[in-house]
Symmetry: C2
Subunit: 380 residues, 2 copies
């Protein structure tokens, strides 16, 4: 499919041997594997079970890199995603999204073939599982340690203990532990604040476990966001981490100090379709249906952007930082200096680092690396 050499103008990756004609999500496979190996080492060093979240890449082919690193346990965010990876031989899968009881027959089918772990936070889910499951599954109680999205608030110990008892009485469920996603790290203002949230999350879960755990029982503690997993260095009492975004990183992570700009391993290549000298803008074929409408907050200038341009010398942000300042369905708008406007010509491909790589990958439904290999995505 990707066969012959094509110069891509301003965004020239020297080794690129691709025939790109449309917006294409480029993967820096070398950087992906570096990001992966770094996180694998970190988990090993802290004696943690590493159960990476596959919702970022959603790719069987990329998933195999994890397997080559010895990883056997994974996290997904939907039943469909669990099925997708089960078909590629993954046999130990946590669905880290509150159980959707409408999908219980698919859950049951899945549980017949893999070691399945579910996330529950209410009695209705346990009742539905008791009623319909024919295979045994593990469950984690979802705890809200401060993110205020889903999970029983950590301080509602009675409610948590009640749910625990209900699970223990179930003939098909076995309680495995407490699971949280400290998603409030994404709103943190600094590296220190992320580490603070991580510690607080850990302490809240540990105290909760002490409170509800019977003698001899060993409930696991599973945590998971990429900012904490990337920045924290203290994981005592934590059993498992589930970061996902780290495989690609993105501008949101960069502005959280969770990665360097060079760690970002995906870029959307977009053809230039218009140049507007009169207002210093170029327009690329690459809009909301390619990048997604998620934004990053450029800290110093308090400006929201959808992406940032990289230059032709590699995936480096040039001195003149060019931000994708506007997006409609298929158009991306870049403000550029007269100097850059002269260098960029119609038909060039411009490389854009995404604000949120999980969503960009989901929009694009596939990847290509600079060696010309293509990669699947569940949505493709």
């Amino acid at each position: 499919m990707i066969s012959y050499i094509c110069l891509v103008g301003w965004f020239t990756v020297q080794t690129m041997t691709m025939n790109m004609t449309r917006p294409t999500l480029l993967l820096d496979s070398y950087q992906c594997r570096r990001n992966l190996s770094h996180m694998v080492s970190k988990a090993r060093q802290h004696n943690l079970v590493f159960r990476p979240h596959f919702k970022t890449h959603q790719s069987v082919k990329i998933g195999r890199w994890f397997r080559e690193e010895g990883i056997e346990k994974i996290t997904v965010s939907s039943v469909e995603m669990a099925q997708y990876f089960a078909r590629d031989g993954w046999r130990d899968i946590t669905i880290a999204f509150p159980l959707n009881i409408n999908e219980i027959s698919s859950v049951n089918e899945l549980a017949g073939g893999v070691d399945l772990h579910l996330t529950v936070l209410n009695k209705e889910s346990v009742e539905a599982l008791n009623h319909s499951l024919q295979h045994s599954v593990g469950v984690f109680i979802k705890i809200d340690t401060g993110a205020k999205r889903t999970g029983i608030p950590y301080h509602q110990t009675e409610e948590i203990a009640g749910l625990k008892q209900q699970i223990e009485r179930s003939p098909v469920l076995h309680l495995e532990g407490l699971l949280t996603h400290a998603g409030h790290t994404y709103k943190a203002g600094s590296r220190d604040e992320i580490i603070q949230i991580h510690k607080e999350t850990r302490d809240r879960l540990v105290r909760l476990r002490q409170h509800i755990q019977r003698e001899g029982e060993e409930l696991l503690i599973s945590v998971g966001d990429t900012p904490s997993s990337a920045l924290a260095e203290e994981f005592e009492n934590i059993d498992e981490i589930r970061p996902g975004n780290f495989i690609f990183y993105d501008l949101q992570q960069y502005h959280l100090n969770a990665c360097s700009i060079n760690d970002i391993a995906v870029a959307l290549a977009c053809p230039v379709v218009a140049r507007h000298k009169e207002r210093g803008q170029i327009i690329v074929y690459g809009g909301a249906v390619h990048l997604s409408k998620d934004t990053f907050l450029e800290g110093s200038s308090r400006v929201y952007g959808y992406g940032v341009i990289i230059n032709e010398k590699g995936w480096i942000v040039p001195e003149e930082k060019i931000i994708v300042s506007g997006l409609s369905q298929e158009h991306g708008i870049l403000n550029v200096s007269p100097y850059m406007l002269k260098r960029i010509v119609i038909g060039d491909f411009i490389g854009i680092l995404p604000a949120h790589s999980c969503l960009t990958a989901n929009m694009m439904g596939g990847y290509a690396d600079v060696e010309g290999n293509v990669y699947d995505h569940l949505s493709g």
Copy 2:
């Protein structure tokens, strides 16, 4: 596929005979056809060529409703979309997106089978077409009448006249007219402002045409946004309209006064997965990968939202207006009163009117109507 009766709790469409288990984009096919028939009548009444934009629905099956109304000319926003509809027998297609010269071989292939119209705004595109096209195509010069996205600014008459001459010298191109998208109507503060923009757009194009048109020449004027097409009543000197969104409408259009809330013809049905009494929120399975992260601006409260809940009596916004206030990859967050919190139970399906229906349809990749019929989408 959709086979047996399933009660969908709070969001009960009485006649629904669907087996929904996951987020599903529901289509009110009756309302779609009403929206369509209304726009067809309006175009007819004003003696306009109606060339609807298919980028909103991107569906062969929905496209056939247009054909039943006698429509033969359509607009799309990508080469891929043109190919998709050409395969269903559409033979007169305008690609209303600046030509991406990297796709010229696909454009050429397409031009061999359909009456193709392209949008150009620079000499590079004309040169590329001259160099590679083996079939004749029509072209429109893209004019910017104030939206500041793409198009040559309407007052740069020399540049426009120069491009016109270049096109006239081409052996493969024939100039058809001036095309604009007055996208600044989407930022208008009132109905009057939209009508004002529409008139100004028309006047600018008419003056431009007078300036550059030779004697005997008849350049067409093609305009296209849904707010103008829905609200304006004066179309003198305009030849063609290309609205797209009107087939579904959405909350952005509603807040622009371009439609009533009852005109909105798509709703995302999302399963309830968590209830949070302590903070008055429910969480649905339906996030950025389903709704898209586009927002509407709730005028009175100046609050941005991702969607609005409809009630079980039909697609009506209940007295207690519930806004989707937060979205992550798969989660949607709704703030609800204690009264509503009691009525909504785990497993219910909640119907959500989208902020921007084009993007929601693109995310979902397909539709189902309440009679149980399913509909394709190019991205599905």
